[in-house]
């Protein structure tokens, strides 16, 4: 950073089985917020030529391939923060349009930055698991709805 501080903008890992083989591809946490001189700022990285998400996915899959000799079969993760909010709105819109919930959750995941970044890399098949829902007032006009709050997505390469 300009102030000489090193900040990690992304971190990720892939779980291994007892034999050291990957059980899935890498999952990532990415956050562009950094603290500079007492204020929080979102940074852009000059020279990348791509989004931080794409950069992190490139690095993670590259490291995965170097370690295991093949690209990951899946790119899993949980939707939180902005991704979750986008998913919630898209999911409820699909439900309101009488889309089957199983289809709605996939369509909603496809609309998130998480899903989009992985689909652009060829991981176009999204498996979505809604782990938890909560009753919340949401929408316009606002009303009490069952809203997914814990959402896991596994992006799988198209066969």
């Amino acid at each position: 950073l300009p102030n000489g501080v090193t900040d990690f903008l992304a971190t990720g890992s892939a779980p291994l089985d007892a034999h050291g083989r990957p059980e899935s591809g890498p999952s990532l946490h990415i956050d562009k917020r950094v603290g500079i001189d007492g204020t929080t700022q979102r940074v852009d990285i000059e020279g990348l030529g791509k989004s931080l998400t794409d950069f992190a996915l490139d690095e993670a899959t590259g490291m995965f391939e170097a370690a295991f000799g093949h690209s990951p079969e899946t790119l899993p993760g949980s939707l939180i923060d902005d991704n979750r909010a986008i998913f919630q709105r898209a999911y409820l819109a699909e439900i309101d349009a009488r889309t089957d919930p199983e289809v709605a959750k996939v369509k909603a995941a496809e609309k998130t930055p998480f899903g989009g970044a992985r689909m652009r890399r060829g991981y176009k098949h999204l498996e979505v698991t809604i782990e938890k829902t909560a009753k919340m007032v949401i929408g316009d006009p606002p009303r009490l709805r069952d809203v997914p709050t814990e959402i896991k997505v596994t992006a799988r390469r198209a066969p």
């Binding site: 501080v5 090193t6 900040d7 990690f8 903008l9 992304a10 971190t11 990720g12 890992s13 779980p15 999952s27 946490h29 990415i30 956050d31 562009k32 917020r33 603290g35 007492g38 204020t39 929080t40 700022q41 979102r42 899993p76 993760g77 949980s78 939180i80 923060d81 979750r84 909010a85 919630q88 782990e131 938890k132 829902t133 909560a134 009753k135 919340m136 007032v137 949401i138 606002p142 009490l144 709050t149 814990e150 896991k152």
Partner: protein, 186 residues
């Protein structure tokens, strides 16, 4: 005992705003075995940065898989609440159980609760609904949710603070909301 990567530690401490203590750096067997003060660290830094709590918990509980770690960090306010107000004696201030997703039977005490939860994107945890005597006594969970609200809509954060600290002056609440909105804006 292994040492935490100094750069990881610095990043955690920057977001925490103070050095980590020896106890806060003591590895645990599992996420459930984390000490209260370690949970408080996660609760304090989670609203400000997502990577820092992952680095912290990766060091404390290296065996915790990411698919467990992520919801744990995401729900840290509820984790802290469950630790401090176990179900067996949950005669807590707000009297409801948001962690189950159930609507409070006492929501008339919280006329703006749906508004707060709409902006939070989830149900508020019991600890987030616990009143405080002063702004200085706000817990990390209070500050975390206030920051989250302030980043989106300062008026909502202001209303939340006024509900949590009824005795606080409106001007003081407004100042705090502005500071949190600014410090957390991204």
């Amino acid at each position: 005992m292994s040492e935490i990567d100094p750069k990881h530690r610095q990043q955690i401490e920057r977001w925490l705003g103070r050095p980590l203590t020896v106890d806060e750096l003591r590895p645990a067997e599992s996420l459930e075995a984390l000490a209260d003060d370690q949970l408080d660290v996660v609760a304090a830094i989670r609203p400000k940065n997502l990577v820092a709590p992952v680095l912290y918990l990766n060091f404390l509980v290296p065996s915790a898989p990411m698919d467990v770690l992520t919801p744990f960090i995401d729900n840290i306010a509820s984790v802290v609440a469950a630790r401090k107000y176990p179900t067996s004696n949950r005669a807590q201030p707000s009297g409801d159980d948001s962690s189950s997703g159930a609507r409070s039977t006492q929501s008339h005490d919280w006329p703006n609760l749906p508004l707060f939860e709409r902006y939070a994107g989830r149900a508020l945890s019991p600890i987030e609904k616990q009143p405080a005597n002063s702004l200085e006594e706000l817990s990390p969970a209070h500050l975390a949710i206030t920051s989250m609200l302030a980043r989106q809509e300062r008026t909502v954060a202001f209303l939340y603070l006024r509900r949590i600290v009824p005795s606080a002056a409106a001007g003081a609440c407004d100042d705090l909301v502005k500071r949190l909105a600014t410090s957390s804006s991204a």
